[in-house]
Symmetry: C2
Subunit: 184 residues, 2 copies
């Protein structure tokens, strides 16, 4: 679905209070093109991920289909967002999960991120992780910070000026953390 058509679809859904049936499932090689498009649109904004536009599709593929497992949020075959989940460290650190969430820019603000985080927490519990950690949350990315806080993450650390924001220059990054024993 083209972004414009998708935007019209979402607007219609809001106006008519349709309930869109969005699924979240493990990503396959067939999703790679859509996922790469989303990834590129996020990195070109330069406000959430450190990677530059020189980042290659091969490296992307190795990050998202390597030691971490990738999931996609789909309406039919249309990918609206995605996350990857895996251990943050090997061996003596492998009881702490980490995850990265990306929502297609045109679909942001419609609950896709919320669904992804919720799904990832359930998945992490299912896999037996004790806690989840985000290593590098850009502090100016308020939507993400607030989303994570809503799901029980706290700011475990502030990395001063650790991210060079495309518009804002050096901004802080947060390390965010939560235990998984309790449901949210």
């Amino acid at each position: 679905m083209a972004d414009a058509a998708l935007r019209r679809g979402l607007t219609r859904a809001v106006l008519g209070v349709f309930s869109i049936s969005m699924g979240i499932r493990q990503a396959t090689a067939n999703d790679l093109s859509s996922m790469w498009d989303i990834f590129r649109s996020i990195i070109s904004a330069g406000d959430a991920l450190p990677f530059s536009e020189q980042f290659t599709r091969e490296t992307f593929q190795s990050h998202w289909f390597g030691s971490h497992t990738a999931y996609v949020a789909v309406i039919g075959a249309d990918v609206l967002g995605m996350y990857k989940l895996g251990a943050n460290y090997p061996d003596s650190g492998n009881h702490v999960a980490s995850a990265t969430y990306l929502v297609r820019p045109v679909a942001q603000g419609s609950g896709v991120g919320t669904a992804l985080v919720q799904h990832s927490l359930a998945q992490a519990r299912k896999e037996g992780f004790m806690a989840m950690q985000f290593n590098y949350v850009v502090s100016s990315n308020r939507a993400a910070v607030e989303l994570y806080k809503r799901f029980g993450f706290f700011i475990a650390g502030t990395l001063p000026k650790a991210f060079r924001h495309k518009q804002l220059g050096h901004v802080d990054a947060y390390v965010m953390y939560r235990f998984l024993e309790s449901e949210t």
Copy 2:
């Protein structure tokens, strides 16, 4: 030099207040065996690094001779310790360095770690890094935490129970950070 001989040498040095002439230089392929021995002795202790004894020499080599640059502290051709230095994140995060330091157990407490940290800070400044970050300092590793504090690092974050210590069970890990503009 065998560990016993080394220990005798260090003891003699302390007794006689010899000044040992230790150099720090970039590591080469010739140092790999010594470095791997040090690495294995540290991971078998299970109190400082997350890696298990299943960690392979190939992965070690890729970590230490990949995107990071490795340095060794040597007396003659004998490797007493080592560190690696590189950007903690790519692109928009590549102004923050990260480093890992390992000192051969038998040589610990003799100033090798101090020399490595000092060298790495000078090297990081020379390479134009704005700050340095340690992502995962085991909180019970008091010698390391105190060493880093002495060099101006502060605890930017505490990751509760993020490390499974071989003796102590779950212990906190610290994220430590410092800017590099000032000399220490």
